[in-house]
């Protein structure tokens, strides 16, 4: 039997999620081989990992945790985890064009098995709570990226054609709105000296590199 109950785990995450000094411990809980996931079923592991991801949205998303978020968007198949990852991404202090590619890939990964998920309380399912969906969370993150999403506008337009019929009318409206938000957002101003940009593997300072 696992050493921790899910309720105990959720309480720990809640505690770590309010303390910026313990961000590293929170990030460590995202390791797939962390002992806290031993002898856990798939559904329980999803609930637990999703809750850790969600904790970063308010705490702020450090670089090491960002790697897990992007990996989930790139390869994940579960609607709850992808929704949590997209939600957590908005905890980053800096937006980057590279993030948009991961978000679009996540739409492709999840669109055939999206689900209404509840991100408000630990382990909640949308019986008594209102919910969101993985694709909606991704679209919200794309809107958050604003001008940094311009590089994926062609892919978003292709998705909007909806050839495979995966999107409902309301979701298509939201996709259309997202495209408009990205298009109409002001282009990024010239990078300031201390600006740091995520290039897919790490942060670098373009200004320091003379770009």
């Amino acid at each position: 039997m696992p050493a921790w109950s899910e309720a105990q785990f959720a309480a720990l995450v809640g505690e770590l999620g309010t303390d910026p000094a313990r961000r590293d411990q929170l990030t460590d809980l995202l390791r797939e081989d962390h002992p806290v996931y031993e002898q856990r079923g798939t559904a329980a592991t999803i609930r637990m990992r999703g809750w850790v991801l969600l904790a970063f949205q308010h705490l702020g998303l450090p670089g090491p945790a960002l790697i897990y978020v992007l990996e989930e968007l790139d390869n994940g198949r579960d609607a709850y985890l992808i929704a949590a990852a997209a939600h957590a991404l908005r905890g980053s202090t800096t937006a980057s064009p590279a993030m948009a590619g991961f978000l679009v890939r996540a739409i492709t990964n999840v669109r055939d098995h999206d689900d209404i998920v509840c991100l408000r309380n630990y382990g909640a399912y949308t019986v008594d709570e209102p919910g969101t969906t993985a694709v909606r969370e991704i679209l919200e993150s794309l809107r958050w990226l604003g001008p940094n999403g311009r590089g994926v506008l062609p892919e978003l337009e292709t998705l909007r054609e909806n050839r495979s019929g995966q999107f409902s009318k309301s979701l298509l409206e939201e996709l259309k709105n997202t495209i408009e938000v990205i298009r109409s957002s002001a282009p990024p101003s010239e990078l300031q000296e201390n600006d740091r940009v995520f290039n897919g593997t790490g942060y670098f300072s373009p200004a320091a590199q003379g770009r």
Binding site: G41, A43, D115, I116
Partner: protein, 287 residues
């Protein structure tokens, strides 16, 4: 989204007209069932029609056959609708909302659908019901059966407890079936198979489990059972079927003792089933 047809045949126009009022309470149940079963797979494109079907599922005042047909309509659309994935989130949410319905048939159908999606909510409520019968939405044997759709549902510890202390025989059998995917349970199945005091159907179930988990062990025990005069015909027939279809053919071709033993079964006062599988074995390994 599929535009499909330039003009709808008369049948489809009638179906569209009939389905438009499917949510109206004044219609008879049979009319509603007729309308629901002729909606066609593309109703997911129409928000109003879709909500009508989902509301019918949730409508506890609607006759049960109507609600079950509405469920069938949605499920059927999942096989055929070009844009079913667009309404899948709403469908799953609707299913979760009626998982605790007062009608057992609805609960069983809905939790079955969710379990086949390996839905975490369904697994959670089923396991809670096994741990606390006061919370059970389904009988334990049904809950165990549905949990077995996902070998990663973490139901093995519960299933082992139920095998040790079953609330009824059906629950014990379903717990054993669930554990048949657990490599760690192979020794338990071997013990059950060898136990001549165990019920025949449990021993047969154990043979099937062992054939998957430890096929060489099953072949050894199956051979012993076939040659053991004290064993009954039913278990002998199961064992010989396993040997005939899944054994190492080269080893069987050389096993003269087994061949002679099976030949005796063919001519002895064996059951028709045992004689039949004996003939199959002898034909396959004819000398």
């Amino acid at each position: 989204m599929s535009a499909k047809k330039s003009k709808a045949p008369a049948k489809k126009q009638a179906a569209a007209k009939a389905s438009a009022g499917s949510a109206k309470m004044s219609r008879s149940a049979s009319q509603r069932i007729h309308a629901l079963s002729r909606m066609g797979g593309d109703f997911c494109e129409d928000t109003e029609k879709l909500q009508g079907v989902l509301n019918t599922i949730k409508d506890t005042a609607a006759p049960l056959p109507v609600r079950m047909t509405a469920l069938q309509t949605m499920l059927s659309a999942s096989f055929s609708a070009p844009n079913f994935n667009a309404c899948r989130p709403d469908f799953l949410a609707t299913l979760r909302s009626v998982a605790a319905d007062k009608n057992m048939q609805i609960r069983e159908r809905v939790l079955g659908i969710l379990s086949r999606e390996q839905d975490g909510f369904a697994q959670q409520v089923l396991m809670e019901g096994l741990q606390d019968p006061a919370k059970a939405l389904l009988p334990p044997e049904k809950a165990l059966q549905l949990l077995s759709y996902d070998i990663h549902a973490d139901a093995y510890p519960l299933a082992r407890k139920i095998v040790q202390n079953p609330p009824n025989e059906a629950a014990k059998r379903e717990a054993l079936r669930l554990l048949a995917a657990d490599a760690g349970s192979a020794p338990m199945f071997e013990k059950l198979l060898k136990n001549k005091k165990e019920a025949v159907d449990v021993r047969q179930l154990s043979a099937a489990a062992l054939n998957s988990l430890a096929p060489e062990k099953l072949q050894q025990h199956a051979r012993k059972i076939v040659l053991d005069k004290s064993e009954g015909d039913q278990l002998k027939a199961t064992s010989l079927t396993a040997i005939t279809h899944f054994a190492d053919e080269a080893a069987m071709a050389k096993d003269n003792a087994l061949y002679k033993g099976v030949d005796k079964l063919r001519t002895a006062h064996s059951s028709p089933a045992l004689k039949r599988v004996s003939k199959q074995f002898l034909a396959k390994y004819s000398r």
